[in-house]
């Protein structure tokens, strides 16, 4: 197989007919398979309980889906990167969704979303980390403000997404799947939540940059 086509050659061959197109599609599919396998090899832990053959089959499926996506979006390629760089991202995106779906299968996101203890337990417990009493009091105040904003200012969907992704570390694509939406919508919910919390802290006299120092975080 050839991985040394120029961008122009990739476009020419993929848009051609007959043998040149077939060869280019076969080469592209092979590259997309390697991209999917590369992602899986970095995230083998997502596939606990599956053997190599099963995981490889998932990669083959991802490569096929990515191939279709690349061919569908071929006219979007602007030539501002190598063609392969542009194409790989479709395979990586597909592979990531497959890997996370496997890792989180069987986990009830409804239960996680309704369980606020992950955050609020920390608020109650994490007071004795060696901080001076005054600093601990300010930390507790900041945590209380954040809790108030979460409870009072966020919409139900924003709150659910924050609990799932921030407090329970559920991956974006699983939340997308769970809520039947898309990455843009979930990102917007998180963005709006961050803006409200930032604003909530500022309106109560706290700059977030200052709170970072209180929690021992260097910027």
């Amino acid at each position: 197989m050839s991985t040394t086509r120029t961008n122009q050659e990739w476009l020419h061959d993929l848009n051609a007919n007959g043998a040149p197109q077939e060869a280019a599609i076969a080469d592209l599919r092979e590259l997309l398979l390697r991209a999917a396998l590369y992602f899986f090899s970095r995230n083998v832990g997502d596939f606990r309980g599956m053997d190599r053959e099963e995981i490889t089959q998932r990669a083959e499926d991802c490569a096929q889906d990515a191939l279709m996506a690349v061919l569908d979006h071929l006219s979007d390629f602007r030539g501002d990167s190598k063609f392969t760089t542009w194409a790989y991202k479709f395979a990586i995106n597909t592979a990531m969704m497959a890997a996370r779906r496997e890792r989180w299968k069987g986990v009830s996101l409804d239960e996680l979303a309704s369980d606020e203890s992950h955050f609020f337990d920390w608020i109650l417990q994490d007071r004795s980390d060696g901080s001076a009493p005054e600093q601990s009091a300010i930390q507790a105040e900041i945590q209380r403000i954040i809790r108030d904003v979460i409870e009072q200012d966020l919409t139900e969907n924003q709150r659910r997404v924050v609990f799932l992704m921030v407090f329970n570390e559920v991956p974006m694509d699983e939340v997308v799947r769970h809520l039947g939406t898309n990455r843009n919508a979930i990102y917007k919910m998180l963005h709006d939540a961050r803006r409200k919390i930032k604003s909530g802290l500022q309106s109560r006299g706290f700059e977030v940059a200052e709170t970072l120092a209180l929690f021992g975080t260097s910027r």
Binding site: K82, K89, M96, V166
Partner: protein, 89 residues
Amino acid sequence: MKKHRFERWLQNIDRTEDEEISCSECFDLVSHFVEVELTGQDAAAKMPGLKQHLDQCAACREEYETLRDLQILENKGELPSADDLQDKL
């Protein structure tokens, strides 16, 4: 919630901008970002909106990191074969 994660989230809140690019826009631009970065240019300075999104979005960041590392291997002629990659599964 672990304290370090809470602190990371505070950083994200601190770095929140009024306007941020979407995941779709990030997906459209990320291959160019990698191209710019791998040609030795300051991709973050050239595309600050994309860099800000990558700092905020774990999913897009992981895709970017994988894409960058894969492209580095290809540029060096060291892209593993499918068989080699299967051996790592």
